[in-house]
Amino acid sequence: MKRLLKRLREIRNNTRRMLTMNQRNLHYIYPYNHRRYFPIADNKLLTKEVLQDAAVAVPDTLLTYDAFYALRTLEEELCAYSDFVIKPARGSGGGGIVVITRKTGDTWYSAGGTAYNVDKIKRHITDIIFGVYSFGLSDVAIIEQRIDQHPFMCELSPLGLADVRLIVHKHEPVLCMCRIPTQASDGKANLHQGALGIGIDIDSGLTSHAIFKDKQVTHHPDTGIELIGNTIPYWDQVIAMSRAAAEHVPLKYLGIDIAIGTETPLLLEINVRPGLQIQNANQIGMRPGLEALRYQTGQTNSQANSWKPDHEA
């Protein structure tokens, strides 16, 4: 009986450490992320623009296309590049992203080996512009520099670009994980699509736990590489970059995605509604970490309202 009570208390305490969906929305997203500033996160072009001043490294934008007629010049503009990434500015879940790795003659080839001629690329960009990947809104297609992944990350994640997801509250990273594409996730670094999630210790950058499809694993399911006990390269820079980026946007509860390039980390995107699965990846609840920041003077919306992005007419 005593043991049962003790166990129940233990369960209750564990429960209180978890950040749940209702709490995340009511206590963090609504008070700390004003809807007005969502576009900064939702539109990747805007994100880059805002972060330019913050001296946060982002992948270079090579070209953008926002209208059908602009595609006339695509062929001459694009022929100079042999590797690049096509992205919808407002896409979600990695939809609509095409990674071109090489060019032979007039044909480009994607990471997966699919051949793309000019017409095929034009068609894909047309889809992006017409909002196929952004819930029916018209969108902008971004052509940006392809990130050369750090050799260590290539080894850890040979099937695609891995990234580090950090939950940043009031400019402080609270929890982070590394997301690694798998065969099951079809090259995408999204946990609910079947990517690996690896918990990382914030102070050391050491990987601690890994989950794959809700199960705890220690090795990559496709390559068999050991996942635990590695140190993510440029870890201090990653943390510093997440702080710098967070200080530069009026959003105080963020998911920041950073890729590890050969020379420097690069910020990929920021997310105003970061998921909760990161707790499973780290095998730890997020609330103690968030509540430790309670008395931190992070601005809430009422104060942040004075901030105005240039783009707001």
Partner: protein, 546 residues
């Protein structure tokens, strides 16, 4: 760990004002709802007992015939509204047949005729019934009257099958009443008990006359009833045969017959098959009086029929009438809405939708089930009232799957969003129409009612299905469809509850309580049931987390 307070301190001042406003609003909503209810109950004297709903049946009579080029005539008896049963919402759909009703003082005969019929033709006649249980008490010292008025005389005479004047009837009576002439009560009690206890019930649908019943010592309802009548008439008690249906959820062909004896100005019912003495249960539907045949039809037409009965709960009519007449009708929504042609049934559905939405909110935010659309389940459940739950769910899944398939094909064509959605909408309409036509063709009339489904919302749902199918996989899309079906079923159960329907019709102010509940759920930060599963390893971890 102490109780967690996650309110950021910098926000304290504004959040305090906000929480005062929040609780103030909640209290105001609850108080006004209870206040209006109290006012209605104690000042306007609303009859609370009358609000408890009564059972109603929807009866569908389906008749099938096959013509060979000749004329076809079919007739049957339709129930009449009387002191005990109330017939409403009658609908005839008989295709090529001409339909006429022949009314006489006792019965209402429906006649369908068609010329030169070729092939299969169907007739469908539907009506709703609300009927009461009635019990009579017969005074114990009342003698059998000697004479009756002229119109009762036919009920004392012999008929074919009711051989009143046969010597066997007289003999039986002599055995039953050896000494004196009985009182009315003695007479009907003895005859009833004799037939109920000493005659076997036989489940036989053919015609049995009084004498055959007497000789065999067993019979079905019509034989026993005829013998009852013969014995009663011989004792100078006017009696008649009643034909009808025993109402019960489901489909059947069997009709039932029982007896009515004229006692002290009332026709008192007796059923010696199911032992109802001077008593008629609420699920007995009277179709006709007299020794008649329920169906008549031209021979050689492959005649077939069935009754399908669906049980429904409806507010008591008397209660509604009372409410209509109560003073200060500003509180009474029905009369107001009826003036602009919105039926009570529709009003009821409209009022129940917020309750369905509350169910959806609970499933999404407390249980943590993903559904298509925030309120789609509530709307589908409301529309499924006409199709029934099972056919509603089947119809929903079919519409979504077919439309999503079309959407996938459109995807391949690369169309702009708005025209694509317009095509989806047309697809949903076409699928619905097809289902209705097929439903009628295959006698699945419930399915035919899918036309009442919210078209635009279905189109959006099919679009969502297709997007989720592409982005998150087929398994996920089907999983959400499945959870949506569960939530629809839960909404249906709540919205179909007679108790809640009557309450919300009588006290629409309960919607304020629904709003208050949503206010509360809007601040509810508890762990969703699904999150216990999602984070089970962390929650049920043995050692404390690092």
């Amino acid at each position: 760990m102490n109780k967690v307070d996650t309110t950021p301190p910098v926000q304290a001042a504004s959040s305090r004002t906000r929480s005062y406003a929040y609780f103030g609003l909640m209290v105001a909503l609850l108080l006004s709802a209870w206040g209006i209810m109290f006012y209605k109950l104690y000042v306007l004297d609303y009859p609370l007992a009358g609000l408890i709903p009564s059972v109603s049946y929807r009866v569908d009579l389906n008749i099938d015939t096959t013509g060979h080029g000749d004329d076809i005539k079919v007739s049957t008896y339709l129930p009449k509204t009387d002191h005990r049963q109330f017939i409403f919402s009658e609908e005839n759909s008989s295709g090529n047949f001409n339909f006429a009703i022949n009314n006489d003082t006792l019965n209402r005969q429906a006649i369908w005729t068609a010329d030169n019929v070729q092939g299969r033709q169907s007739i469908r006649y539907s009506y709703s019934v609300e009927s009461k249980h009635v019990q009579y008490s017969i005074p114990d010292d009342m003698p059998i009257p000697k004479v009756y008025s002229d119109e009762l005389v036919p009920y004392l005479l012999a008929e074919e099958g009711i051989q009143v004047d046969d010597s066997l009837i007289a003999q039986t009576l002599a055995q039953l009443f050896p000494d004196t002439t009985p009182t009315v009560l003695e007479a009907v009690t003895t005859i009833h008990r004799h037939l109920q206890d000493n005659f076997e019930n036989r489940n036989f649908s053919g015609f049995t006359d009084a004498l055959t019943t007497l000789k065999l010592g067993e019979a079905s309802c019509n034989g026993k009833s005829r013998l009852f009548i013969a014995l009663a008439r011989k004792l100078n008690l006017p009696a008649r045969l009643v034909g009808g249906l025993i109402l019960k959820q489901g489909s059947k062909r069997t009709s039932h017959q029982w007896v009515e004896v004229y006692i002290a100005g009332h026709w008192v019912p007796f059923d010696t098959i199911n032992d109802h003495f001077a008593d008629i249960p609420s699920n007995y539907l009277t179709l006709y009086y007299g020794d008649l045949v329920l169906f008549k039809h031209t021979t050689n037409v492959n005649f077939n029929y069935s009754f399908t009965m669906v049980k429904r709960l409806v507010p008591k009519r008397e209660a509604l009438e009372l409410l209509d007449h109560s003073s200060l009708n500003v509180f009474n929504l029905y009369t107001i809405f009826e003036q602009v042609g919105i039926s009570q049934n529709l009003l009821k559905i409209i009022l129940m939708i917020p309750l369905g939405a509350l169910v959806v909110v609970i499933f999404r935010n407390v249980i943590g089930m993903e559904t298509f659309g925030t309120f789609l389940p509530a709307l589908i459940a409301a529309a499924a009232r006409e199709t029934g739950l099972i056919w509603g769910l089947i119809g929903f899944v079919l519409i979504i799957l077919i439309s999503a398939l079309v959407r996938k094909m459109l995807d391949w064509l690369h169309l702009l969003h708005s025209p694509k959605m317009a095509i989806m909408l047309s697809t949903v309409v076409i699928v619905m129409m097809t289902m209705t036509v097929l439903g009628v063709q295959f006698q699945l009339f419930e399915l035919a009612h899918v036309t009442l489904f919210p078209i635009a919302i279905l189109a959006i749902t099919a679009e969502r299905f297709a997007i989720i199918e592409t982005e998150q996989g087929t398994l996920k899309a089907f999983r959400i469809t499945f959870t949506t079906l569960i939530v629809i079923a839960a909404c249906y159960a709540v919205m179909d509850s007679l108790f809640l329907q009557s309450m919300i019709l009588a006290f629409p102010e309960l919607l304020l309580v629904v709003i208050a509940l949503n206010l509360w759920l809007g601040k509810w930060i508890g762990m969703r049931l699904s999150e216990f599963i999602r984070f089970r390893k962390l929650i049920f971890a043995k050692e404390a987390q690092a």
